[in-house]
């Protein structure tokens, strides 16, 4: 695979945390790539490094070793302002909850990244982004007046308007019921069909992961295989195996302590 085909690329990335006497490994020599035009789900037991991977990809966390590239730009060595502009222009975010500024309406929230870069987006542009997520009639509502699913969709509309190279989603369906979750996942799926974009989603939910082109499994900060065109059942089975493994791996240590 050619490097230019990758929206996000991690090469030999190592990240450890100092918590207590022993350093905790977040990512251990991880090399992965997320190609344009794909939707990748990242899964693993808690503490496997999913969140660290997402944060490293967003440049929210400096890595100890290795290199992170977003749309061809190496993140290491960028100053805060350059990182901020990179995030503003090339990375979109959707989280489990609290995606929006409560003081602003849906339309204002959608227009925010463009406004932060000093550009006033055309009202039609904002309306189109909201219409694309099915919220054309909710433009003037504040987040407090929207349901959880609608709030997630506004966040997706906000990500759409900047046309980012990468959309990072952290448990986007975690707080939603099935129907709303399905709508959000369909939207994410649709965004990944753009050849200029990659969608990376961290999730616990095998059903959500089944919407992805590929599932990347992590365990103890290392890649632990992947599944192409997964089904929910396959994912669930693999997860169960991973969790059993890591439980096994840890229990002797626990006894030894």
């Amino acid at each position: 695979m050619n490097a230019t085909d990758l929206a996000v690329e991690l090469r030999s990335v190592r990240r450890t945390y100092r918590r207590g006497p022993e350093p905790v490994v977040g990512l251990d020599d991880v090399t992965v790539g997320f190609p344009f035009g794909t939707f990748t789900a990242v899964m693993g037991p808690s503490g496997s490094g999913k969140s660290t991977l997402l944060r490293a990809a967003a440049g929210l966390e400096a890595v100890d070793r290795g290199e992170v590239r977003v749309d061809g730009t190496v993140l290491g060595g960028l100053r805060d302002k350059e990182l901020t502009i990179l995030r503003r222009e090339r990375i979109g975010f959707v989280f489990q909850s609290f995606n929006l500024l409560p003081a602003l309406t849906a339309a204002q929230n959608t227009a925010l990244p463009a406004k932060l870069s000093g550009r006033r987006p055309a009202p039609a542009e904002v309306a189109a982004a909201l219409a694309a997520v099915g919220l054309a009639d909710r433009a003037g509502h504040r987040p407090g007046e929207l349901s959880g699913g609608q709030q997630q969709r506004v966040a997706i509309a906000r990500a759409l308007i900047t046309r980012p190279a990468v959309l990072l989603a952290d448990e986007p369906t975690g707080a939603l019921d099935t129907r709303n979750g399905r709508e959000v996942l369909t939207l994410l799926r649709g965004m990944a069909d753009d050849p200029g974009r990659a969608v990376v989603m961290v999730t616990h939910d095998p059903v959500a992961a089944a919407y992805a082109d590929r599932v990347l499994f992590l365990r103890d900060g290392r890649p632990a295989g992947s599944l192409e065109r997964p089904t929910a059942e396959q994912v669930a089975a693999r997860m169960a195996a991973l969790e059993a493994d890591s439980a096994e791996a840890r229990s002797p240590e626990a006894v030894a302590c």
Binding site: R87, R88, F93, F98, L104
Partner: protein
């Protein structure tokens, strides 16, 4: 970004309402103060005044040339006792045209007011007096009464002058004048009462008069006044100016205090609003806001609040100008014709300061907002994080300030105890104690709450349960909640600490200083049996002193005020000090001055007893260079050093070294301290003294009566100013307290919902909130009490070193009332929103509240 700032302010108005109210009040007060101060800059035109009919006026203005130590320009320094215009000058000016000499002196009719003066009849025309009945005084035993009743003409009147009682016949009366209460004598008699000429009206050409003055001493002896300047020579004008000045100081001070406090209120509420919105701000950073944009956002929020509050404050301030003027006139603090014009520049200055205040207040918060990391938006829960840096900063800065101020207090108590006797100096010492306590409030709140809840916890432990469970579920939940919700506890405790410590230090130290002055007066009078003091008169005449001395079986010390001038600030300026003159033998026998070195027995002509704080700290036996009240240079030997406070007499001299005469006639005695000689019958002596002073404007009292009166003698105006400042500071702290609590209600909503879900009744939840709030207020009161104790302890140690054993006065009532006020404000601000938040919140809504 302005849209976002506006939207934030609109949505989170509760966060900004405290800043808004504080700033609006501050700007309103500032605007009114500026307008009133601008209006007091000029004394309103009085129309007629003492010398309004004199075309050119010469006023005695004797200056001595003082050369500052180490070189520098010669400073002409006015002497406190003016000897009057020299005869040569009077003659020279008389050669230029008609002149009228003014002799003004103390002369009080039997029923006359305290400030009544005697004057020469020829100078009555200078003030435009017109007889309404009778004739001008033609003989030495005739007087004209200014503002007298026509039926008084022809009747005898009694009056007192500096030498004693006199009688005269009323030859005429005039209309009353607003600028003085005068009794007019023939020119010859007036010149005998007061030989010094204080002012001279000249009707000749002004240029000729000026030339005559320049040839006869010039600016060193007299000032030439023409036109509007002439009013400067009128004591009434000076008095009005002093009254207007007296209004300026407290207004300026309170405006400064309210401005300074508003900075802290704005700073505090913005800091809290940033802390509450960390996640929101992190989200902004994550989706592409740079640090600078985040800082700009917070600054713009402050600007929105600042602009609207300044506008509201200016409107209020302008509206307040007229009522303020009426209030001042009603209180007789300013003359009746006083008005306050509303000027645009006054409002502009106030508004600009308000805006500046908002910007200064927000600087810290906006810097802090810029440091928020975008990664925080991804954080799981926004449980209360206590950054390690903030408490460390508080510990270090708080302990430094508190430790430094305690060290300063201890050092002062040992080395310069007299500083503690001055209200201004001791406030400078004590305010850092308050500041230290406020800085430590946030970190000491936890330990204080643990201490307050120690008893139920101990009981629980004795019963074998966890300490956290002591005192029932409401109590236990409240305790844990207060200990965990670090931010809310700090926000509640800090203003309470400020209120209690500030009030305790301020009021307590003033009371203690006052009491020390009483103690000092008491120590001085401890050997005296009786005291003769003025009654309805400005002082005691010579006749009183003579008659008291003539009473057999007693010894009397007559104390007359004078001044001594000495260079201060390492010889940079010459200033007059309060001094007193008395017979040294009588003084040593009757009064107990606090001699710390030397002996009063050595006090005599050519020597002086000085306060040990006298400039240059002279030693006993050394010689000091001083100038007498009229500017005469004199070398005096130091006979004794006295440990007196700053408010007391600083130097005692004997008759030959005192100037008590000059313009205005001879000085009156302040007080006569009387000691009964052994073998004298007290009742007999008292009766004799009473007869002696009868009808002379004097009162016989016991030392107890004198020192209890000293308690009331605190300058009421400065006390009022202090109370106003105290009230302001407390008002602002109360605004902060209420605002912080209302702001933290949203943090609390989830907690309350969870408590409800866990099965607590509405009453239990509200009781928990109330107990938690009261615990915080109690902790604040405790810490404020600690600050009060430290500062009053320091004051007391210094004052005891100064005047001997003197009690500490803790203003318990004021502190109690303030603590109760804090509790009431805090309870209202915490329980009311909680009750509203809980209304109808059960089932689904509670679950939503728990999840949100």
């Amino acid at each position: 970004m302005l849209t976002l700032a506006l939207a934030s302010v609109r949505l989170r108005w509760a966060s900004f309402v405290g800043s808004f109210v504080a700033l609006t009040c501050g700007v309103a007060l500032l605007a009114t103060s500026i307008l009133v101060i601008a209006a007091t800059a000029d004394v309103p035109d009085q129309g007629r005044q003492r010398f309004s009919e004199a075309p050119v006026l010469l006023v005695a203005d004797r200056n001595v040339d003082f050369t500052p130590a180490g070189g520098g320009d010669v400073q002409p320094t006015q002497v406190p006792a003016q000897p009057g215009l020299p005869a040569g000058l009077l003659a020279a000016v008389a050669a230029t045209g008609r002149t009228v000499e003014d002799h003004t002196f103390y002369a009080q009719l039997a029923d006359g007011p305290r400030g009544q003066v005697g004057r020469a009849w020829s100078s009555a025309a200078l003030g435009g007096y017109r007889l309404t009945a009778g004739t001008a005084p033609a003989a030495d035993d005739q007087v004209v009464i200014g503002g007298g009743r026509p039926e008084q003409v022809g009747r005898p009147v009694r009056f007192v002058t500096a030498d004693g009682p006199h009688t005269a016949t009323v030859s005429g009366v005039t209309e009353a004048e607003a600028f003085e209460h005068a009794v007019f004598f023939t020119d010859a008699r007036a010149a005998r009462f007061s030989p010094a000429v204080g002012a001279l009206a000249a009707f000749g050409p002004a240029d000729a008069v000026r030339r005559a003055v320049d040839a006869n001493g010039g600016a060193g002896v007299a000032r030439v006044l023409t036109g509007a300047e002439r009013s400067q020579a009128d004591p009434h004008h000076a008095e009005v100016a002093a009254r207007l000045d007296g209004v300026q100081t407290p207004l300026g001070l309170s405006a400064a205090v309210s401005g300074g406090t508003a900075v802290f209120v704005v700073g505090g509420t913005f800091a809290l609003s940033i802390a509450q919105r960390r996640r929101e701000l992190a989200l902004l950073r994550l989706i592409g806001a740079t640090r600078r944009q985040l800082r700009a956002l917070v600054n713009r929020e402050a600007l929105v609040v600042g602009v609207s509050a300044s506008a509201a404050g200016c409107a209020l301030g302008a509206a307040g100008a007229a009522p303020a003027a009426r209030w001042l006139v009603d209180r007789d603090l300013v003359p009746a014709e006083f008005t306050v014009p509303v000027t645009w520049w006054g409002l502009l200055v106030a508004g600009a300061i308000g805006l500046l205040t908002a910007i200064i207040g927000v600087v810290f918060s906006s810097v802090k907002a810029g440091l928020i990391s975008p990664g925080e938006a991804l954080a799981e829960a926004d449980a209360e994080r206590t950054s390690r840096a903030a408490p460390a900063f508080r510990w270090v800065s708080g302990l430094l300030v508190l430790g430094g101020s305690v060290a300063a207090l201890a050092l002062t108590a040992r080395s310069w105890p007299d500083a503690a006797a001055s209200v201004a100096d001791s406030l400078a010492l004590l305010l850092p104690v308050v500041a230290g306590c406020v800085l430590l409030a946030a970190v000491l709140a936890g330990p204080a709450i643990r201490l307050l809840t120690a008893l139920p916890a101990l009981v629980a432990r004795l019963r074998g349960r966890a300490a956290e469970d002591g005192g029932g579920i409401v109590w236990a939940t409240a305790r844990q909640s207060a200990l965990t919700a670090f931010r809310r506890t700090a926000a509640t405790t800090t203003p309470v600490v400020l209120i209690i410590a500030f009030a305790g230090c301020l009021v307590g130290s003033i009371d203690t200083i006052d009491r020390a002055q009483v103690t000092e007066a008491r120590a001085q009078l401890s050997a005296a049996d009786l005291v003769v003091s003025p009654a309805g008169t400005p002082g005691l005449s010579r006749a009183v002193a003579d008659r008291v001395r003539a009473v057999p079986g007693i010894q009397a010390a007559v104390i007359t005020p004078t001044s001594l001038m000495a260079p201060v600030s390492d010889g940079q300026a010459l200033v007059p000090f309060r001094a007193a003159v008395a017979d040294p033998a009588a003084l040593a026998a009757v009064d107990r001055l606090p001699v710390v070195a030397g002996s009063l027995a050595d006090l005599g002509p050519g020597s002086v007893a000085l306060s040990r704080t006298w400039p240059g700290s002279p030693a006993v036996g050394s010689r000091v260079s001083v100038r007498l009240a009229d500017g005469t240079p004199r070398e005096l030997r130091v006979a004794a050093l006295l440990g007196t406070g700053a408010e007391a007499v600083q130097a005692w001299v004997t008759g030959p070294d005192a100037v008590t005469d000059g313009v205005g006639g001879p000085a009156l005695a302040d007080r006569i301290d009387v000691r009964l000689l052994p073998g004298t019958d007290r009742a007999q002596a008292t009766a004799a003294l009473r007869t002696a002073v009868d009808g002379l404007g004097a009162r016989l009292a016991t030392p107890e009566q004198v020192w209890s009166a000293a308690t009331d003698s605190t300058a009421e105006q400065s006390w009022n100013a202090l109370l106003m400042i105290l009230g302001l500071a407390i008002g602002y702290a109360a605004i902060t307290l209420a605002n912080s609590l209302v702001m933290t209600v949203s943090d609390r909503r989830r907690e309350l919902s969870l408590l409800r879900l866990a099965g607590a009744t509405r009453g239990q939840v509200l009781r928990t909130v109330a107990v938690e709030t009261l615990l915080c207020v109690a902790a604040g009161t405790l810490l404020g009490g600690l600050g009060t104790a430290i500062s009053l302890g320091g004051s007391w140690a210094a004052l005891t070193a100064l005047v001997g054993p003197t009690p500490v006065l803790v203003p318990w009532t004021i502190l109690g009332v303030l603590a109760a006020c804090c509790a009431a404000i805090a309870l209202t601000a915490a329980v009311l929103p909680a009750a509203l938040a809980l209304r109808g919140r059960d089932g689904r809504t509670v679950l939503r509240g728990a999840a949100a």
